[in-house]
Symmetry: C2
Subunit: 446 residues, 2 copies
Amino acid sequence: MTLLLATAVYAQSPADRIIERELASTRAYETLSYLTDNIGPRLSGSKGAELAVKWTTKQLRDWGFDVRNEKVMVPHWVRGIERGRLVSHNDQKVVLTALGGSIATPAAGITAEVVEVTSYEQLAELGRAKIAGKIVFYNKAMDMALVESGQAFDAYGKAVIFRGGGASKAAEFGAVAAVVRSVATASLRTPHTGAMRYDEKQPKIPAAAITTEDADLIHRLIAKGERVRMQLVLTPKMLPDVESANVIAEIRGRERPDEVVLIGGHLDSWDLGTGAIDDGSGAAMVMETLRLLKELGIQPKRTIRGVLFMNEENGLRGGHRYFDNAAKREEVHKHIAAIETDAGAAPPVAFITTLEGAALERIQSRARVLSRIAPIQFTSSKHTGADTSPLTDAGVPGFGLVPDPRHYFDFHHTPADTLDKVDPKALAQNTAALAVLAWVIAEEGL
Amino acid sequence: MTLLLATAVYAQSPADRIIERELASTRAYETLSYLTDNIGPRLSGSKGAELAVKWTTKQLRDWGFDVRNEKVMVPHWVRGIERGRLVSHNDQKVVLTALGGSIATPAAGITAEVVEVTSYEQLAELGRAKIAGKIVFYNKAMDMALVESGQAFDAYGKAVIFRGGGASKAAEFGAVAAVVRSVATASLRTPHTGAMRYDEKQPKIPAAAITTEDADLIHRLIAKGERVRMQLVLTPKMLPDVESANVIAEIRGRERPDEVVLIGGHLDSWDLGTGAIDDGSGAAMVMETLRLLKELGIQPKRTIRGVLFMNEENGLRGGHRYFDNAAKREEVHKHIAAIETDAGAAPPVAFITTLEGAALERIQSRARVLSRIAPIQFTSSKHTGADTSPLTDAGVPGFGLVPDPRHYFDFHHTPADTLDKVDPKALAQNTAALAVLAWVIAEEGL
């Protein structure tokens, strides 16, 4: 009886075994739980990020892997006090958070009139005459119809441009600070942080995200014809770069070990929450894929390499460092695919991929066993992930795991990105999908 | 043609006219908008509360009412710094807010081990041996099944006891501070404040509410067998009492002006949000009921008196002052009904009332025109409102307007209690329901 059962198990394909074992497991969730609950926020340069590198390295070693720490210098930006109030309206509090990379205000803050715009065109039309000395308020809401139709990342892309570049655009016309409406699909007065970058040709001015409620408040007051003056106090600091690392481990290929299927997520997180959906889940999926393949004794033809990238959020230094080192070793084109998971852990609905046409049809066919996990579609996209973008820009076929995105931006970059937002079953489904796709490509190619 | 239309209008009953006019109006919303957007938070003793008394008084006078400011001394508690971190777990931030009335911690904060309990029985079982020197963490979640069945206020009542009395109960066993799980039906790391009271027989210890996410985090760490130590820094202050006022205006009865149907909401709010649902909406409904009746020239047999109570949230001084003055003038039993609206502004679903049996059936029948607004039921309840509780305790028939309560505790006592949570149409429906019930009782009695 035992022998018969054992035979039945071994008759299953590796993909079937991956799926059955992973869907019955909470191991990915346990890994995520340590990263988020025991370590907590993991912004580049922080103690949390350092602990995450150490713990994931130790954990993978305990599971029997050779682990490599690929050194990389990362930015060390530290949030300080952040405070806003409407001095024109009874000193009402404005709930806000500094954007990552923002400079500080003077200690006493900046107090100025708020000018609302919804586009760069409108900003340019107002020009220096109306903008100089003011706080520019970018009030661009996410397109909820697009979000509900499943295109949340497109809606995000359209709304987020002001977070990234709005401060320097406003500075071009003499603004003294910029505030952006949080890029959010839900809010309970919840600020959404995220990276901003300065145009070196413009003066640097402080930048913050205000909650959608505060954005609506200021909009309504201005719409009533009232003059709105805000005081903004931000005290972040940019400290010297810190040495950190990408964490790398792999299942060596049994026939073509120098051909690599990369699976990657990022280890750093924003500082407000504990980075459960962004991207503790991705890191946990990558670690669990490696652990599971080893446990099951599955060794595909080609190598499956797991990379826990450092500094995706505010620099992408880890992604660039990985690529630069691969380029130095002339190994970029040994990567036959790069699969990134950095979109949360809701139930999986798709893989986006840079493949098109016949190649797209081929992988759809080869990976059809994914339907045992969930109805997972393959869809073409130019961009399949940030950390792997240097690879895909160089022509490596890219894949991005897409969990249902409709609620991702409820929590993304907020204090509410915490473990309770992740369902262990959905995380296991995502892990199984990642592991199966990696196995299929490593075994059968593209 | 004009004459015919006018005749048709005048043939309508006053209740029909109230409903038609109010449902086509956004006046209640405009009033609410000024209270929340232009004035903002209105905690007793604050500048916002003072402005609210002045502005509502002026507004009602502008509408042609004789307005009385009924003086009352109110507490003046001011929130300070509030900060928590898990010193045992990488200094992770704990998102929390001081409970109203809490004393401060020492400037350096209190650092101690956290002991989790879900009941006073469990606290007593642990006793002084396990509690002395610790921070007691009351982790009682709201019963979501009860909330979803429409019994949100019952679920609130069961969960909120630890917020009110938990600190002193913990102090009885030597605890150095108390934290409670936010009494919440939704959270994006959202702290819910609210009043707490000290038992004068026990040492006073600081008390805060942590978000449901932070409660879950601490619970999970303790469940893993880990020792959790927290630092808590709170710097609130209780300043000397401040003179404030209930704001009172009325439509005098045409036949029995000394018989009063009171309609009341409260003007103060917590300080974290702008008190749109709690209870700017109620105050706006009361003001708009008065304005509308005057505009329509509707003067019922008995007086309809609107009272905007001060200090419902952290003292109920306004409610008691109103009652005490009425008692001095021997006018308590001239109140033939007291209708309170302090449960938000979702679409109306019910009136709770202290009436039972035949009296309940009679009002249901007399007020059946309410069905033109929404399917509004009457249900018996011992408690129909806080500000009017001194009156109903003395035997005055009480009524409480009940908007759909299922999402009330998503926002209640949080920074997210802001104008955007109120739908102007639902606010108009509630106002119409309040105005119609007041008119029916003032005209036809109970």
